[in-house]
Amino acid sequence: MSLRRRRFLTVMFLIFVLLLSGCWSRREIDDLAIVTGIALDLGPDNKVHMTIQLVKPEVLAKRAQGGGGGGNADKAYWLLESHGLTFVDAVRKFNTLSPRQLFLAHNVIIIFGEDLARRGIASTLDRISRTKNLRRTIWVMVAKGKAREVLEAELEPEYLSAVAIGHMIEGREVYSQSYGIDLKDFLRVLTGSSPNPVASRIELRKEFTNREFWEVDEDGQGEAGQGEEDAKEHINKEARTQGREQAKKSVVLTGAAVFKKDKLMGWFDPTETRGLLWIQGKMRRGIIIINGPEGEKMAFESIRSKSEVVPKIHQGKLIMRVKIDEENDFAEDMGFVPLTPENIPGIEKKIAAAIQKDIEAALRKGQKEYKSDIFGFGAAVHRKYPQQWKAIKGRWEELFPQLEVQVEVKSKIRRRGMSTEPPKPGGKE
């Protein structure tokens, strides 16, 4: 248009050229070492021992093209280990070990070793949350034993164990015997008024045996929970389908790791985990097995649940009321009892009782043994009675183990699947 405009454009162009001569943050996609999993253990001298799983994209690309004959020769990942005084120190040290630049944004899981978790992880978490590229959607888990071993697990048909574990956590809701939490929620709980988070528990099975994978070593309950039995069955089935050559390392994702503040207190077994999930309202779907009217086993699948934690001050005493509303599908019947409107209320009561048992197991361990308010009772009090909370906040750790908890469970049976009655041999008379 005018002379000025042209000059303006010329100047802009010149400035661009001057500015664009450098490309600061550039890195080519094939120069990246894509990290999919991080494992943190306690190393010697209280250092952080860090293991990362890195993807070999070329191997995966070859597999995708179908060539390469079998493709079992190369692993799709490699592991790197380093020590550092701090998390960042360890991360940066990888650059002395890897020809490619570490790229953390696609990380799926972060696994803490048991020893490190017991020592406390707050400082590590601080560094993680400062790191630009580490997402808050990564899953936080604690390994029973060494964390680095978990990354070595092989989970067919996935090539990357970390990604596979991520999928396992996402699929946990079908069975609901394990806990899953991402970094964002972990931090939210840790900074909230009941700063006692729970993380997933993961364990490496070095070899498959028919032996029970869950060792009831910690409280030695005589009566195994229903869920546990279930889990056993599940594993058996798995063993049958996967064939005999199950000598590979695989992992189990059950139970939960219970923290108090940022320190690991101990483990929840599947039953207790389910109890915790019921209380927190995070239960999605799970199998409940009861003894039916004729003594046979009946299985129900819980499909929907709602929980409410209501603190009440009754005659100057704080009482927690946990109310649970839950709906079931009839899943399986070992006997041949048809469900009728007459026997349903009785069965529903039995389901409620089974759930209550789960919850009580969780409360027993969490409240009495670990004395860790993972259930968020403190936060509930804070919400409902902010003024009183100020007074008892300091003493909460002493108050909590003595807290009276009332559990109310309401169960409903809604549907019965695709058939009306079990297939009784010989048919119905």
């Binding site: 943050s25 944004a105 630009k132 808050r136 964002k184 931090l187 709980v189 909230g192 804070h382 902010p386």
Partner: protein, 363 residues
């Protein structure tokens, strides 16, 4: 000097982004640090105060629908006081532009490209707003008309995507610590919504000045709504303590989005929101400051000043702060009061004088 005219709607869109621009990124941290779970109440209160201030600003502006505040402040308050008020007003807008330029770079170096020198971002932003301001108010109005809907749409999409991560119980207890923290926390949002005082300079360029009333109320209303919803969401998803702890809560809000294993990590899109928002905000502030300055000095045109002033602002932006910690401390504590002394103080003072002396250009 400025022959262009904009519509009231364009002015509204300019003002909306001029407030939201960096506010939606920075403010939740400042506010949550004070009011914790009640941060959203603080935003509500701040926005209501902002609406009250809008009433005052519009009353004053419509008394002189064909003049800018720089022009009538002398008429109202006398030459000396008027000039002083004028420069106080102008300096605020120019200084804020300089802050913005710095902030813009800080965000991008922190979040997107840590290796790139901050100066690059600042220079790019300053070229962009210089170019737009050079084009005049009409160009800015049209840019806003084009970008603001996209901007708001993106904001809403990002908020919508993180709805499923919300834990509404994080929002309770409501006013657990009484109303004190809420009021304390409402100062920064009020200071931001008070940016509507840029209207004092824009009213004479709106083709139907009467409509500026509706436009300003709408702008502050929309902003208030978005502020409140955004803060509620940030707290519900991340927890109040985390919001107070995080450098850019809105960024993390978007970073937690996870839809069907496909739509993940949309945080780079946050950059689009940030860049458009800060760009328009800087445009408005720079334009108001520069036009004000040239009217204050009785220049014939503001355009010759565009480039040297942007050089000055960029270099000042570097000088003003040593670190992002300083920006945050100043932004959360000192700046809101400074802003309010200009944005609320000047219009209230002038309106009182106008009432007392019974002056208006509309006889």
């Amino acid at each position: 000097m400025e022959k262009g005219k904009i519509t009231a709607r364009q002015a509204m869109l300019l003002i909306i982004v001029a407030i939201l621009g960096d506010g939606i990124f920075f403010l939740p941290t400042f506010v949550a640090a004070q009011a914790k779970t009640d941060a959203w109440l603080s935003f509500l209160l701040g926005s209501i105060l902002g609406l009250l201030l809008t009433g005052i600003i519009i009353k004053l502006g419509l008394r002189f629908p064909d003049k800018t505040v720089i022009q009538y402040s002398e008429e109202l308050a006398g030459t000396v006081v008027g000039k002083l008020l004028g420069i106080w007003y102008i300096a605020f807008f120019l200084v804020t532009t300089s802050y913005l330029t710095r902030e813009f770079g800080e965000f991008l170096t922190t979040v997107v490209m840590p290796e790139t020198p901050i100066l690059i971002f600042m220079i790019f932003l300053s070229i962009a707003y210089s170019y737009a301001v050079y084009g005049g108010i009409e160009v800015m109005g049209r840019v806003a008309e084009f970008l603001t809907p996209i901007y708001i749409f993106l904001l809403i999409v990002m908020m919508g995507l993180s709805v499923k991560d919300m834990n509404l119980q994080e929002l309770t207890p409501v006013m657990g610590n009484g109303i004190g923290p809420v009021i304390k926390g409402s100062i920064p949002p009020f200071a931001w919504t008070a940016n509507v005082s840029a209207m004092l300079m824009l009213i004479p360029f709106i083709n139907q000045p009467e409509q500026s009333k509706k436009a300003s109320y709408m702008a502050v209303g929309v902003v208030g709504l978005l502020f409140v919803v955004n803060t509620m969401q940030a707290i519900a998803v991340l927890g109040a303590q985390e919001v107070a702890r995080l450098e850019f809560p809105f960024f993390h809000l978007a970073a937690t989005v996870r839809v069907a294993n496909f739509l993940e990590r949309i945080d780079a899109l946050i950059m689009i929101v940030w860049v458009t928002g800060d760009f328009i905000r800087a445009c408005v502030f720079y334009y108001v400051g520069l036009l004000g300055l040239s009217q204050w000095l009785k220049l014939k045109d503001y355009k010759p000043l565009v480039l040297p002033m942007s050089l000055l602002l960029v270099s000042l932006g570097i000088v003003q702060f040593d670190s992002i910690m300083e920006i945050h401390t100043w932004g959360g504590q000192g700046y809101p009061f400074y802003a309010l002394s200009v944005e609320a103080g000047i219009p209230i003072l002038l309106l009182i004088i106008a009432w007392v002396r019974g002056k208006s250009s509309r006889v």
